[in-house]
Amino acid sequence: MTDRMSSVDRRSFLKTAGAAAAATTLPISLVELAFADPAQNFTFAYISDAHIQHIAGTRFVRNWDRGLIRAVAETNLLTPAPDFVMFGGDLAQLGTKAELDHGAEMLSKLNAKLYCVMGEHDYYLDLGEYWSKLFGPQHYSFDHKGVHFVVLNSILTTDDWTYKRWPTAEQRMLEMAGLDNPNGSPFMVGEKQRAWLAGDLAKVGKDTPVVVFSHSPIQKIYKGWNFWTDDAEQVQALLKPFKTPTVVYGHVHQIQYNQIDNITFHSVMATAWPWPYPESYAQAKAELNFPKMTVPMNRADPFFERDATGWQTMDVAGGRPTLKYNLYNNTNRVVGFDPRIGMPADSAYQDPAKRIPPQTHY
């Protein structure tokens, strides 16, 4: 090794080593959509929940910074390059300009086109004003290679909570930032945005694959931690007329997947830190509605700073995304819709006999 090192210049060695490392660890969490015509298949990358946290001056929490920097760098190494990159919300921890600017600077290194989703940590300081200056509208849609993509701002809540409850914007932000804070308020898409969604979808053929990106799950899993959207059923009702609707959400910092009627649900990983599965909160059991088909990710090992965090690519084939989770200190996972059982399944662990001890959460 020493001899070889001396015969190659350091720069080209590092380049090769970087490519070799990428080859062994990628893909991370890619989303792939596949079509009957394979030429229509494409891949995009999904990074979420960076929670960039300002300490003071030029100091930010190093741990969370490293998660986003790594995801961006690895996304740029993907071959072939993803068609676009989604950022799934919670770029900031407390919604400040310093945090959003620092996060935007890191995201600016991405080679591919970037689309962003609003998270509650980005929103509740100034109600999304600065975020919108940086990233544009808070809900919108776009078409790509035959798929209709919709981005929702699902982390809104009641006017009373938003405008009347708190003496300062800073306190409102802090109250919503605590996941288990009983002073928080359930997320919702809201009537106005649902009306916009109905209008947007009215222009789309029912056979067109529809993929919705939201920050919170458009399903009700555990209200205590806002793994929840209060008007989930009304949004689902707008998606049900379509043949293969899919919802992809962040917020939960863990692998989840579900099937409700014809709607497929997938969550994406956080780059910042993992969250426990709600079943591991001993006092939550009675009010839990956790998707039974989900094979959990491994329990986090805190001694590996990036364990149980990651990002994903999505391969789009047949209109439905297959998620490839890039897990930094764990075996990568692949979860996609399995037409034989009519619901999403993990490619390796779905059979209970194949599961491993760290996947048990208690």
Binding site: Q53, H54, I55, R59, V61, R62, N63, Q93, G178, L179, D180, N181, G224, W225, W273, P274, W275, P276, P278, S280, Y281, A282, Q283, A284, R299, A300, D301, P302, F303, E305, P357, H361, Y362
Partner: protein
């Protein structure tokens, strides 16, 4: 003789006090006692929750609750346990100190520091009802 009768009288009084006053009995307590003790305990749990959700134990603004909402995934029922990453059996307090040092970038607490006691009281309270499971991984 007078001294002796004084001692006897004192003993009689002492016995009477033990029999007549619940406060001085070692093995009996009342509903009011239970309520007071619960209040004392819950006030410490509340202090623990406040510390758990605040950044004051660290230097970088990070709080325990950021990764452990409702103190979930801390498994107090499994401690003391063989913490495989450290290669020895440790208490929950030592693991809390590990987290204060690493993700919170703070200074560890003495294991009998009232703040450490409060956080352990909070963790145990959130985990109430779960059976002891020494060394469960």
């Amino acid at each position: 003789m007078r001294k002796r009768s004084l001692v006897v009288a004192a003993l009689v009084l002492l016995v009477a006090a033990f029999v007549g006053h619940g406060l001085l009995t070692a093995d009996e307590f009342t509903k009011a006692d239970l309520e007071r003790w619960d209040k004392e305990y819950m006030s410490v749990v509340a202090k623990g929750r406040a510390l758990w959700t605040s950044p004051e134990l660290g230097t970088n603004g990070v709080a325990c609750a950021q990764c452990h909402p409702n103190a979930a995934n801390t498994h107090p029922e499994s401690y003391p346990k063989f913490q495989q990453q450290l290669g020895r059996v440790i208490t929950l307090g030592e693991m809390i100190n590990w987290c204060i040092r690493q993700p919170l970038e703070g200074q560890p607490l003495a294991l009998d520091d009232p703040r450490m006691v409060a956080m352990q009281a909070y963790v145990a309270y959130e985990r109430r009802g779960v059976a002891l499971a020494p060394n469960k991984h």
